[in-house]
Each structure stands twice: as C-alpha cells, then as structure tokens.
C-alpha cells in the first residue's frame, strides 16, 4: 500500500524550475531518503508536501486522497508533519510547551472548558502533558522538559524538533536534514530515533547529506538534481548509478 504518491510535481519560481515533473511513491512504514546537491529542490519538495508552497503543477495523494495545495495546518490534520532545516522552534516556550503546541488539533475542549476548567479540559491537558513527556522521552529529552527551548544545546534543539513534529501525531514524518551540524556520535543517535519511529508505525521521508546515514537507514533513495528526479531505488543501486555519480561529482570525472 502506498502511503504517499506524488505525480508530475512541478514548481516554478518565476523562471527558476525548482521542481520539474517529479514522480515517486512512498510505501507505508518505510524510510525514504531524498538526496541531491544543494539547490536540487529537496526543501521545495517538502514545502509542497506540507502546503507551505503551492505546486505549479502535479498531484499529491496521501492514502489515496488528493491533498494537493492544502494549507499547512490542514496538511497536519491529514497526517503530515515535518521538521525544518533551519530550526524553527518556539524559542521562548519551554521544551514541554513546544510539544504541547503540536497537540493543538488533538485537544478538543473549547472555550467553555477553558474558562470553567471543567473535567474534560483538565483531562485533556493532563493527557497532553503525559503524551508530551512520552514524546520527549523518545528523543531523550525527558529531563529537559522545563528548559526554555532556546537554551537547549544545538543537537537537542534538533531532537526537540523531531519530538514536536511527532507530537502532531502524523502518519508521514518529513525530516529536513535532521543531523545537519551534528558529530558522528549524535548522528548515530538520530539514526536510532528514526528506527524507533519506524517501529511505532510511522513512515519517514528525510532529506540528508550524511551519506553514511542515508545508506545505512534508507529502504529507498530518491535523487534530485536541478529539480528533476534522476534516480530512485535501494541504496546499493543508487551507489552505482552513473547519473547520480555525475550529479555529485560533475561531468568529466566520470570517464
């Protein structure tokens, strides 16, 4: 069963073709990496999937339903959550509050409950806190719940982004360079986290530059170059693909 199906996805910014007729499918509960040189259109792809930019052309289907051009908050409702390449935490909120915000859609009690603090409201809040702490534990941040998030060390901020995305309870999780700027030890920790997420039944698509991580974790790899998909397949196949080598190393070195 395909969880995500992208057909003919195209995005032009003025004259710049950020994405051109990109097709791919993501199997449920799989780990897929999107790689490619800088400016290949990877983040634009994520932005299209999460509704931050509207594609020029093409269709995006999630669990069979067409979700093309839905707004960001609707994309979350439909089950897509993401992290950002340049960290976008709620800086002045505590770590716990960050994961509480993501449970926005889940908490149902309305204004009445808020004003009178009735049983439903209190139960909702209690559950949200408990669940939030579970997500923090998953990424190893349970001890930092009350820290203001901008005071977290850099690596922990990246983990918190993952926990925050997770707390929105997506079926499809998009991670934009989750290990950027991390040392090998931290990177392998992130790798563990991603495996844990898979065990929880999540489907994961990640953008990565760290080839050891990509090759070690991905079931399938999509390679973009200048907005065009130039290869797709399991790690072993990608490693040998001449087009991919050319894209990374440049023409001429191939001969």
């Amino acid at each position: 069963m395909h969880l995500l199906e992208v057909r003919g996805l195209t995005k032009h910014f003025g004259g710049v073709k950020a994405l051109e007729e990109v097709d791919f499918r993501v199997e449920e509960n799989s780990i897929v990496s999107v790689i490619g040189p800088n400016g290949a259109g990877k983040t634009t792809l994520f932005n299209c999937l999460t509704g931050l930019t509207r594609p020029t052309k093409g269709r995006i289907h999630l669990e069979g339903a067409d979700i093309t051009g839905s707004s960001p908050h609707r994309a979350v409702r439909l089950g897509i959550a993401r992290t950002f390449q340049n960290i976008r935490l709620f800086r002045e909120m505590t770590v716990l509050e960050n994961v509480l915000v993501s449970q926005h859609l889940r908490i149902r009690s309305g204004l009445f409950g808020v004003l009178f603090r009735n049983r439903n409201f209190l139960r909702d809040e209690k559950e949200a806190v408990e669940r939030g702490l579970e997500y923090l534990a998953l990424v190893g941040l349970e001890g930092a719940a009350d820290v203001t998030s901008f005071n977290l060390p850099y690596g922990d901020q990246r983990r918190l982004e993952i926990a925050r995305a997770l707390a929105a309870e997506p079926t499809l999780l998009l991670l934009d360079e989750p290990t950027a700027g991390m040392n090998p030890h931290e990177t392998s920790e992130i790798m563990e986290i991603i495996w844990k997420l898979q065990k929880l039944g999540k489907t994961i698509v990640l953008i990565e530059h760290d080839m050891r991580l990509v090759m070690g974790i991905s079931e399938s790899i999509i390679v973009l170059n200048h907005g065009v998909k130039i290869a797709e397949g399991p790690p072993e196949a990608i490693r040998k693909d001449s087009l991919v080598i050319e894209a990374y190393l440049g023409k001429g070195t191939l001969a």
Binding site: L52, S71, A81, F84, E92, L100, V101, S109, A165
Partner: protein, 367 residues
Amino acid sequence: MRSILVAFWLAFLFLPFKGPKAALMLFAVVLIIVSSWTYLKRRGRTLREKVFPRINALRAMSLSGKRLSLAQCGLLLFLIAVPFFAGDYVLDVAILCGIYIILALGLNVVVGFAGLLNLGFAAFYAIGAYSYALLNVRLGLGFWESLPVCLLITTISGFVLAVPALRLRGDYLAIVTLGFGEIIRLVLNNWDSFTNGPNGISEIAPPRVYGLSLGGLDKYYFVTLAAVILSYIVVKRVRLSKMGRAWIAMREDEIGASSVGINITMYKLYSFAFGAFWAGVAGALFAAKMRFVSPDSFTFMESVLMLCMVILGGLGSIAGVILGAVVLVALPEALREVQSYRMLALGAGLILMMIFRPQGLFGGARK
C-alpha cells in the same frame, strides 16, 4: 573626552529651541550624567547589574506559583477594603487604573501573545464607549442590557480590522491599525448628527442594580474591580490553554506554528477579536463612569499609552502588564507638578526600554 563631545553635541541641538542659557545648562547636566555613567561602567557596576536583579527578585517573590494564594487573598481583601478608608480622589484614580488594566490586558493578547503590533487599540475602546453612550442616550437602554450589544459590536469590529492583518507583515500592520484608529476618531469627530461631533455625548447613565444606582465612586469601584478580576481570570485561563499556546507559538515562529497544525489565519482573527472584546468592556466602563464621551479621549496617544503599559510590564506577561498599567496611570497622578513632562518621559522611556530592557521592567530575563 567623549562625554564632553556628547554633551556639546546635544547642547548644540538644543540651542535654537531654548536659547544659550538653557543649552549651557543642558551641556552641564549631560556632561555630569555621561561622565558618571562611564565612570560607573568602568568600575564594573552598571545600572543594569545594580538595579535590575532586585527587580527580578521582586518578580520572583511576588509571582511565584502556588505559595502565593495567600498573598493573592491578602491583596483581594485589601482591594475590597479600599473604599472604606480611601477618599474620592484615590477611588477615582483606582477606577481609572482598573479600566486601563482591562485595556492593557486586552492589548496584551494582541501584541504580547500573538505578536501583532496594534497601534489603533484606542479605536476599540472608543467603539465600546460610544456604543454604550449611544445605546443609553438614544435608545434609553440600561448598562446591563447594553453591555452584551456593546461587546458584540467591539468584537465584530475586531474581526473586521483583523482581515487586513491576515495579509500584512509586522510594520505594515502597525500602520494600518494606526490608520484604522485615526479613521474611527475622525468619524466620531465629524459625524455630527450621529455622534454629536467634537462636543461628545453627555448624560450617560451609570449602571443600576434593582433600581439602585452604582454611580457613586465607592460603588462604581466595585463594579470596576469585579470587571478587572474577571478579565484577569479569563485572560489567564485562555493563556494557559491551547489557544494561548497557539498564540505564543505563532508569535515565536509563524511557519513553525502552521506546520504543527495551527490555523494562523483564525488565530490572528481570534486575537484581534478577543483583545477588542476587552477594549469594549473598558470602553463601556469608561463611558458609564465619566457619563460623558468625546473623541478627545481616544487619540493615537491613548493607543500609545496602552502600548507603553504592555511594553513596560513585559510583552506577554499578564502580571507585568497589570503593574505596567498601574504604574503609568498612578505615577503621573503622583507627580502632578511635572505633569507636562509626562509624555516627554514616556517617549524617552520607550526608547530606553527597547535598548536596555526589551522584555519589560517586570518581564523575565531574556537573551
């Protein structure tokens, strides 16, 4: 040397406005201030280090969690007791404080929580005040019957103004809200047949309960106190719910907030409407207290004054904003003799706050 230069420069700028004698005095004053400032700084004891920790400690003492229920009870008892020993003048100022607290709490929702700079908040205050004034004087409706209508009108006007807010970036939004505020004032000022123009509307009735007028200062004090407590509780509870979290998240990072499922458009609308609601409450209270409204009470400076309360208290901090309102209402009253320097100090205060203490006097330490 540098202090002489600074002093000379400022005195030079001052020269044409007040003549050489005053300029010379300014030169001396600035010279003393600047050189003692640099002296203190060199000794490593800046004003910041010396004074502000104390304020932080004060804050920690007065605002820390549960232990404070007792202090809160004490404060409440004290506030209830005020009319029994205070004179009319104190009550008058206290009522005014209360009205501004409600305004500042409302504006804090928009500016402090949601991070949308609103420079026309006095417009909602005006709409609230005029709604009650007109309903009462033209239709003969009492305070309590008018109040729901008043609040509905102000809340809807909040929604209406929020529509442009949805598309505008920060500073453009500020200017549009300012323009909205001015247009409302100009309409009130010029639509003679409806609002009685610059002469305003007088003989507005105070609220009544079972035929008993609450117009006396001591009774009206309780009406205001009740409204203040209500607004405090409601704003606080909303802040500590998913709505409050959504606002703060939106303020911190709009894209981040939308990508965890927050409908930015709706939450901007809510913040404007919710803020306007409280301006409506304050407006109705103001009209019923003064028994008179005129466009002069709702100028741009009034909007700025409310903004100052929010900034002084610390954007987003509920307790801070209340203190900010009290300080800015009570302080000028206490310093009657220097009344004319009030606005001058306010302007300078805003600049200094932004440079040295952007989180507000009572806000938490921020990087």
